[in-house]
Symmetry: C2
Amino acid sequence: MYVDLGNALSSVASPGVSRESLDRLDEDVAVAHERIERGRANAEHGYAALNLPGTADPDAIKATVEPVADAEALVIVGIGGSALGAATLADALDSEVDTYVLDNVDPEHTTALLDDLPLSETAINVVSRSGTTAETLANFLVVREAFETAGVDWTERTVVTTGEAGPLRDLAQKHDLPVLKVPDGVPGRFSVLSTVGLAAAAIRGDDLDALLQGGRDVAESLSGSLFEAPAYAYGATTYALDTRGASVNAMMPYAEGLETYAEWYAQLWAESLGKDGLGQTPVRALGATDQHSQLQLYRAGPRNTMATFVRPRERIDRAIPATDVDGLSYLGDATLGELLDAEFEATEASLAAAGRPNVRIEIERVDERGLGQLLYGLEAACVLAGELHGVDTFVQPAVEWGKNAARGLLGAEGKFEEARAVEEKTRLRVE
Amino acid sequence: MYVDLGNALSSVASPGVSRESLDRLDEDVAVAHERIERGRANAEHGYAALNLPGTADPDAIKATVEPVADAEALVIVGIGGSALGAATLADALDSEVDTYVLDNVDPEHTTALLDDLPLSETAINVVSRSGTTAETLANFLVVREAFETAGVDWTERTVVTTGEAGPLRDLAQKHDLPVLKVPDGVPGRFSVLSTVGLAAAAIRGDDLDALLQGGRDVAESLSGSLFEAPAYAYGATTYALDTRGASVNAMMPYAEGLETYAEWYAQLWAESLGKDGLGQTPVRALGATDQHSQLQLYRAGPRNTMATFVRPRERIDRAIPATDVDGLSYLGDATLGELLDAEFEATEASLAAAGRPNVRIEIERVDERGLGQLLYGLEAACVLAGELHGVDTFVQPAVEWGKNAARGLLGAEGKFEEARAVEEKTRLRVE
């Protein structure tokens, strides 16, 4: 992973960070790095996720999913951190296995998906650490019923990823399902390089070793200076820009396969840093497409936004055929990849020319190793930013209220006072 | 379309708008409405888009696409406003015609798509008002070549949507292609109810009349008071919240089929209002999925965000099967739709309980009429917000610099000084 901070400097952009401020910030990075290393050494909650490139066991994962290794299609049943990592890998990496993610409880969507699937050739990976996630369990019950209706033995097609105990663990034991354990100390949004993200990747035939090698590449570069560790360079710069007014961070990869990666990033950033009134708002964009959608705002709107441009240095390219159309002949000398790269550099420069801060991240290729670098790199960047902000990066307490309210509305047993607040909604209707 | 502003009031949220301030703002709405009506009456640039429910000619569109009405698959070749409207309709409405959008110049993605398509049964709708959009023309040249290589006559499978003149118009005439004219005065991001969005919808067999009827429903409700016009109620409230500190507007539909609608909204909002240092940053989210991704930030992060929750009042539902799993039995009494609606109301209430402003928008169903209402409604809301901010809603000057730079980088003839700035990039690399 390569990071270029040039367009984040105050000599280029406002908000921007001066070279001197970066030097001062580097002292805080050294302190934060020590805290991170201590957390990793003790496998503390959250920090343990940064050990996954060493602690994950790809052979065990491959062995466990072996019963469904013949699948033509795969459905990942999970939500949030139990789905986004696997979905990111599936979007970015080619596979013979058609992969779908059931991460919402929309009845029409779920029905349409199940009607289309070749169930007897389909593998299910149901993922929930607690084994109680309402959306995931509801979907899994519906999927199970669809298999039964079709006369396909769902117990032969299902791999479970869950915690040490809980309803899903019980169910796996009862039906003798292959089950992978979510490792301790790894929050969902930091779990892509664990059983949570890698089970689906193994079923798809992705190269787990290369994914973990990518993670190791970046792990080995972590050091007490942002000028030596690309992941820290990114994390420290986003922190510096945020505290100087860049409250929005638009993640804009220039590769279709990285569209879901931007979604994964948005969860990582929002849940980890969005607390105590702090936190950059992550915005997911896609280059070159969103130049025709978001760029006007980023260049001419409020000075509250930084952009992060991501691209692979190599692509499998395709020539643009020559044309007789007047005014377009310049395209015929180029490839689609050259056009995309020209747009990447032009957009980056257009923000810099308008004094808008941006950072460039590059990987060699959109392949397992490059993805491992990008995913681990952003995780390490996020942990560092959390240390610098002084927030508790690995919790997400603000989502509990809504979960309780929903449970109460559905009539779950227990005292869910939050449900009453729903009934008392303030109304001002315009029809 | 129904709008509920209750959770945007200052009695509930901060930032929030007082009932008295809304009354004062309503006087500005009356003035803005007069300006909008004058623009519509004179079919001025931009305002003309709000006349489309009356001026679009669905029968002419259906007749023009008749030669490809037998298609099994459809590829929309366009970008930004030339793609997002049609993509929104395709995502939301069922069709027998598999629909793909080629709105990026990623070589690997383009090749993978073309390799998978049954070209002899595929229709192409290439869309560019100017007929010079680099990404669209490059993709179209590649698509044309793929047809030729496969021995399929692309001129029999292509419908062009473009302006009165330009390279694409010339090409259509040269090859005698069916061609639809982009109406005058309709910017791309306001063009979904014109030939730009409706050509693809017609090929897919969507009900164009119902789409336009939905637009008319909202158009007829526009009046000089935000308390009588749901679209203005939304536009005025977003303006009031923005000026009070809600610089981010997270659009969160609770329906899988509306995921692309949130993307369409993001372009509408960003390009129309993001200028002169103003403009809310649109964020696209999806309920219930992103409760497990973004909600922590919206509830506990900076007080700079409003949320817009959108849902249909009716869904084709599906029961959650009963379960023997302990602690989940409450799910077995519910349907997926009830679970989704409980989460909608719980999330809305959870933001209100934390004093975070939000607005509810509802339509009857995710069908043509509901979509027509939602799309037209947000356009009218955006035009109103633009009037209140005093910006030029219908232009996007800030994107030109990057276009010139990209052209220069690719060696197009002419003087593109912007390309030199790309070479002079400030670098601070960490590897």
